[in-house]
Amino acid sequence: MRSATHKPPPPFTHVYVEQAAREHPETRRVLERMPQSRIVPISHHKEILNRPRQEWRAQKAAPALVLALRRGEFLYAASAHTPDFGHGRFHYNALAQNCLYDCAYCYLQGMFPSAHLVLFVNNEDYLAATDEALKAGPMYLALSYDTDLLALENILPYTRRWVDFARDRPSLSVEIRTKSAAYAPLGRIAPAPNAILAWTLSPDPVAKRYESKTPSLAQRLRAAAKAMEAGWPVRLCVDPVLLVQDWHRIYTQFVATVSSALDLAQARDVSIGVFRMNKDYLKNMRHRAAPTDLLYYPYTTTGNIVTYAQPEHEALTGHVRDLFSRHIPPERIFVQ
């Protein structure tokens, strides 16, 4: 039989919409922006997300969008393997599941059996749950945890809404971690001192090899520079630091590039961490993700976490920390 050449369709040719979310104003807003998409009603987002034997990589090349209502929990205690930057109560929420980017080291590949992007449209319930939690005391909240929220700003403007929400609640600190270069939507609102924009930065050779579909280092630096100039608290995250060939030179050059593009003294802080992963996620990734050498490195396993052995960990983080400490006081450098 003859065979054609496969060309994946563009993203979001299909939008699955939970029946309960169909009339939500956010759903209508998203669908208005996607007039060409085919709308498929579903009962629950797990009907799409949890099907067995999904072709993860083919889905990543042509993701569908799933619009759903989050039910049950809206806040989660953060993992012990995520830096808390000295905050006592560290939580995260999941306004979306999955990401537009395709990073080879990302745990989402092992966490969810589907690469389709889920957006939870009932933001008001997340806000109410956060207000309720704030009654118990100050809280640090990571908003961009199982996704890259700023990269989705054109579909759902959640980053701006959460910045405005945080602005009136000084006991709340929010972190929006991103690789996006899309600073423009944030440029239209005033910075909030308790809304931290955290850019994940990687050396160009690392980004080119392991961070598919992401903006380049130069683009991310330009976005971070604009944010710093406008007065946003900006965190720089070098996480994960990867043990690539010639890593010493690559990261030396990288910090030089970062320090020449940004006034590092103006950065709120720097966060450094090496590759680490739940061992079951890593196992899942070997069956789903694009094969890269990262998936086959002889990591050490402690509990259910795989990561580099202690000497490698110390060499990598020590080197990057030393480089940054020439530009920023050591107490503003956090190493995980």
Binding site: A4, P9, V40, A61, R286
Partner: protein, 269 residues
Amino acid sequence: MILLHTALTPEAKPLARHFGLQMSDRRRGPPLLIGDGVSLVVSGAGRARGAAAVAYAWGSLAEAGQPPRAVLNTGLSAAEGRAHYPDMLFRHSLPESTLYTFDTIVESREEARSVSFDAPAPALVDMEAGGVFTAMALFLPPSRVHSLKIVGDSLSDARSLTANAVQKLMEGATDAIANFLQELNAFCDAAPSTNPLKTNEEQLLHEVAETLRLTATQKARLRDAACRHRLARGKSPMSVLSAFALERPTHKHERNRVLHRLIHALSNT
């Protein structure tokens, strides 16, 4: 191999002709026709028959070393109906619709509504697809099981189609089905492997592991090193593995030393 499924013989005949399919020599079970890259099973009407037939065809083809990599349920459908969620990950030019599977013939919109839930916009009904999808979900991803329906009747005249009329409708649709199959086949061809090693590399790896009498953990370490060698250096691990293929360690400590050298060679060559 792509497996086609129809409920009725008149639906199957034009497809058999178009794809040059021949009846298999199996004497039991539903009719199974086989051709070059395409096979076809005819189930008879009904969800249970549909499920049983595709499962039977799957087993028969797998036993013959040709497990289907995708399944396409096709045939006639009436207008109006109930839904499914195949993953549509390749481009095609056909309209998409929801499809409702019923256990009995549905003759009116009212009857459809009484059995199904809130039938949305134009939809289709049949009696098999639900069974085919359920059965094939045991074997295939949701991106590889699809249903193509030729709308041949409205609910009001469901019983009036003759075998000749069904055959004619199918004949008119075979080109569209063939085009869809081409796209589906291309999608299957393009599916990237998550295994970094090629078959011959896996084989040599297995031989070396057996010769060295590696434990399960050591085999896994060796395989990881071979995978890393290919992915980090872009080179086949064959030459490194071959250099160790003749090693015959006589005791455990020697085996461990050989393994250490082998992994070192894979990591540094």
